[in-house]
């Protein structure tokens, strides 16, 4: 069997890559995708720890995370479409209406 720390390190790497992508990328859709990567890294950690604790409860939490991610994707993409309709751009640096 593969020890759980391999999976945990993969989860850490994915989370860090997701957060780096969030800061480096400039368009809103890709920034949104990197949030999904971070959520998936959390899912991986949950399932790994559920495996080593011999319980299925962690997998139920992953279910809830997936449903919340789906709801969040629907609302977030609606907001991005709304921004595109009003400003004709999805670059994050062009959206600075509230910047002082």
């Amino acid at each position: 069997m593969i020890p759980p720390n391999y999976f945990l390190i993969l989860s850490v790497i994915l989370f860090v890559l997701g957060s780096v992508a969030f800061f480096v990328k400039k368009d809103l859709i890709t920034m949104f995708m990197s949030i999904e990567i971070m959520l998936n890294a959390a899912n991986l950690a949950f399932i790994t720890l559920a495996r080593s604790a011999n319980s299925a409860d962690g997998q139920i939490i992953v279910f809830f995370i997936i449903t919340v991610a789906a709801a969040e994707a629907a609302v977030g993409l609606a907001i991005i479409l709304l921004i595109f309709r009003q400003k004709k751009t999805i670059k994050s640096e062009d959206i600075k209406l509230m910047k002082g």
Binding site: I2, P4, I13, L17, V24, I37, L44, L77, I80
Partner: protein
């Protein structure tokens, strides 16, 4: 065999995410992300969570990413978004990433000594369904309300205002 599959899937996942960071085309980004999510589904299957693996592929790689691709097609940006001009933000983000990775590894260090479990966990659809409707009934109902709210919210947000 298990190690080989794990390293193959992990390398594919990390490689797809890195390609997403490098690539400028949003449609390619979405396709890379589908690859990453499918490989993560395989990793979930290695962790003896077969139902979650299937749900991951159907919902994430299927439904959510199709939603992303629909929005990319609707927005239809012809040219890629140019990369960040200011180099110092990239260096700063690399430094922050190193700090974050050290911090996270320190925080999960306690889990590294966990024993390798060989017992079979009951995580089939029947067991998960039973758990979902007994112990986690209230979170389940609250999640359904959340989904209704998100659905109505998305429709209200995106609706065009009627002209009088």
């Amino acid at each position: 065999m298990g190690y080989f599959l794990f390293f193959l899937l992990a390398a594919l996942t990390v490689g797809a995410v890195l390609a997403m960071i490098i690539s400028k085309n949003q449609a390619y980004n979405a396709l890379f992300l589908i690859l990453a999510f499918a490989c993560l589904g395989g990793i979930f299957a290695l962790l003896e969570a077969p139902f979650i693996a299937v749900v991951q592929i159907i919902i994430y790689a299927g439904a959510i990413m199709v939603l992303f691709i629909f929005v990319i097609m609707m927005i239809n940006v012809r040219y890629g978004i140019p990369a960040e001009k200011k180099k110092w933000t990239i260096y700063l983000s690399i430094v922050l990433a190193v700090v974050l990775i050290i911090e996270l590894i320190l925080s999960i260090k306690g889990a590294f000594t966990l024993p390798v479990s060989t017992a079979i966990i009951k995580a089939g659809p029947t067991d998960l369904g039973r758990l979902l409707f007994t112990k986690y009934l209230y979170p389940f109902e609250i999640t359904s309300i959340l989904i209704i709210a998100a659905l109505v919210g998305a429709i209200v947000l995106i609706k065009k205002k009627e002209k009088k």
